[in-house]
C-alpha cells in the first residue's frame, strides 16, 4: 500500500459536494466528466445530510456546493442550513441560472457564507454562445443581488483562446459588479476541455498579453478587488501541486455518491471509487485503495522519487499524467524533468501556430447530455 496512513494522512479539510451533473449551461470547457449522462442516480437529501455530518466529523471545514448547477437541487437551502449548523464555511459555486433574489435571501438566512458566480465572457454574445444559453443579463442581475445581500462575491471567468483577449473588459466588468475576488482561471485540460483542446488552448502571445493586463489591475485594484490569475499549466515548467497531494486534504463526492480524491479522478482507468452509500467517509478516507493509491511519496517513479521538489508539487496531477502518457503513476509531463515533457511542448507549440481563423473554425463540442451519450457510445465501441 502506498504511503503510511499514520504519518501522511491528513484530514479531508475540503469537501466538494457535486450535488448534480444537471446544468442549464453547456460550456465546452466544463471540468465535469465526459460521461455525465451515466450519472442518473443522485444522492437523496438525507444521504447528502449524512455526507455533510460525516465529513465534518472528519475535520472538514470548507464546503463547496457545486455541480453541474447546484441550484437545480431544490433541497439546496436545507443542505446549506445543515452546513451552517455543523460549522462549515460554505461556498456556492454557481452559474447564477436558477437563482433569483428571493433565493439569494433564503441562502443568506440559511447561513451560506459565500457565492461564486461564473461568467463565460464580458460580452453578451460570447457569454451566451459559450454557455449555450441566454444567461448574461441574468448573471449580472444575480451578481447585483448577491452584493445587495452583503455577501462576499467571487466572480469566476474561465479563460481560453476565445475570450482571453478581452481580459481587460472582463476585469472591468467584475469591478463594476463589485466583486471582492476575481478568479481568472485558465482552462485546465480535463473532461470536456480536453476534447476541445485545439479550439481552446491560448497561444503564448495571448498569455503574455493577458498576464500583463492582470498584473496591472492586480496593482490598481489591490485594496478593492483581489484579482487571481492562473496560467494554463501546459505552459509551465513545473507541475501544479494538484489537490495538495492525492488524498491529502480534498474530498469530492460525485452526484451518485462516489468519493473521489479530486473531481476529475473518475477519468482514471482501472480504479474503483468507493461510494458513501456503502462505506463511511472515515473508512473511505483512511482505508480505501482509491484514496491510498497515490498518497504520500512511495508510489512515485523516477524522476519524482529522488526529486527534491516532490514535497512541493507531489509529482503533479495523476489525471493529467494518465491523459498525456497513458500511465497515471507517471511524472506529470508539465514537469520539464519528465521524459514526456518535450512532446507536450511540441503539441502546445503546434497549436500556437494555428491562425486565429483556423482556431475559431474548430468545432466546439458543447457539454450536454446528448453529446455525453454520443461520446459514451463511441468509447464503448
Amino acid at each position: 500500500m502506498a504511503g503510511s496512513i499514520s504519518d501522511l494522512t491528513g484530514q479531508p479539510l475540503w469537501l466538494l459536494a457535486e450535488l448534480t451533473y444537471r446544468c442549464p449551461l453547456q460550456c465546452p470547457y466544463c471540468s465535469n466528466p465526459v460521461d455525465i449522462s451515466r450519472y442518473n442516480n443522485e444522492l437523496s437529501t438525507d444521504e447528502w445530510l449524512k455526507v455533510l455530518r460525516d465529513a465534518r466529523s472528519m475535520g472538514a471545514m470548507q464546503l463547496g456546493f457545486s455541480g453541474g448547477e447546484p441550484l437545480v437541487r431544490r433541497d439546496l437551502e436545507e443542505l446549506v442550513t445543515e452546513a451552517r449548523r455543523l460549522g462549515y464555511y460554505s461556498n456556492l459555486i454557481t452559474s447564477g441560472v436558477g437563482m433569483d433574489a428571493d433565493r439569494v435571501a433564503a441562502f443568506r438566512e440559511a447561513g451560506l457564507d459565500h457565492i461564486q458566480i461564473s461568467f463565460q465572457a464580458s460580452s453578451q454574445d460570447l457569454n451566451d454562445f459559450l454557455g449555450g444559453t441566454s444567461s448574461f443579463e441574468h448573471k449580472r442581475a444575480m451578481a447585483r443581488a448577491v452584493k445587495a445581500q452583503g455577501y462576499p462575491m467571487v466572480l469566476n471567468v474561465v479563460l481560453h483562446r476565445r475570450n482571453i483577449d478581452a481580459i481587460e473588459d472582463i476585469i472591468l466588468m467584475c469591478r463594476e459588479l463589485q466583486a471582492d475576488f476575481v478568479e481568472l482561471a485558465s482552462t485546465q485540460y480535463y473532461g470536456w476541455s480536453r476534447i476541445n483542446l485545439d479550439a481552446l488552448l491560448p497561444t503564448r502571445e495571448q498569455l503574455t498579453r493577458a498576464e500583463a493586463v492582470a498584473r496591472k489591475y492586480q496593482a490598481q485594484f489591490k485594496d478593492e478587488m483581489k484579482v487571481i490569475y492562473v496560467v494554463p499549466d501546459y505552459f509551465e515548467e513545473r507541475p501544479k501541486a494538484c489537490m495538495n497531494g492525492w488524498g491529502s486534504i480534498f474530498l469530492t463526492i460525485a452526484p451518485d455518491g462516489s468519493a473521489l480524491p479530486c473531481h476529475a479522478a473518475a477519468s482514471l482507468p482501472g480504479m474503483s471509487f468507493p461510494n458513501v452509500k456503502d462505506l463511511s467517509i472515515k473508512e473511505i478516507w483512511e482505508h480505501s485503495d482509491a484514496f491510498n493509491r497515490y498518497r504520500g511519496f512511495d508510489w512515485m517513479p523516477e524522476p519524482c522519487r529522488s526529486c527534491p521538489e516532490k514535497q512541493k508539487d507531489f509529482g503533479g496531477c495523476r489525471c493529467q499524467a494518465y491523459m498525456l502518457t497513458g500511465d497515471a503513476a507517471a511524472t506529470d509531463p508539465v514537469c520539464s524533468k519528465s521524459p514526456d515533457h518535450q512532446q507536450l511542448v511540441r503539441q502546445v507549440e503546434a497549436l500556437g501556430k494555428l491562425s486565429d481563423e483556423a482556431a475559431a473554425s474548430r468545432p466546439l463540442v458543447f457539454r450536454n447530455m446528448k453529446n455525453s451519450r454520443q461520446l459514451a457510445a463511441q468509447s464503448d465501441h
Binding site: 479539510l13 471545514m61 463547496g64 460549522g87 464555511y89 457564507d113 461564486q116 462576499p152 467571487v154 475576488f181
Partner: protein, 89 residues
C-alpha cells in the same frame, strides 16, 4: 501602516474566525480558503470585535497572559493581519 492606540480593528465580513476542535486551534475561514492560526494569533483575533481599541486589546491580553510582554507582538500581528486583508481598522 501602524496600529494607533484608538483604532478599533474588525474582521472583514467575508472572514469567519472559528475554534476547531479537530485541529485544536483557531482557524480563519474565507471564500474557498482557510488559515490555521497560531495560538497567539488566535487569541488576538478572538478579541478583535470592532469595538475594542488596540490599547484595550493589549490590556485584555496582558490580563489573560500575565508575565508576557505582548504589546509589540500584538501590534505587529495586527499590522500583518491588515496587510493580509483580514481586518478593517
Amino acid at each position: 501602516m501602524s496600529t494607533a492606540d484608538q483604532q478599533t480593528p474588525a474582521l472583514r465580513p467575508m472572514y469567519r474566525l472559528q475554534w476547531e476542535e479537530a485541529q485544536g486551534c483557531y482557524v480563519l475561514l474565507y471564500p474557498e480558503g482557510m488559515v490555521k492560526l497560531s495560538q497567539s494569533a488566535g487569541e488576538i483575533l478572538n478579541r478583535v470585535d470592532g469595538r475594542r481599541t488596540v490599547s484595550e486589546l493589549v490590556t485584555d491580553l496582558q490580563i489573560a497572559f500575565p508575565g508576557a510582554d505582548l504589546e509589540q507582538d500584538v501590534r505587529n500581528f495586527l499590522t500583518q493581519a491588515q496587510n493580509h486583508g483580514w481586518l478593517d481598522l
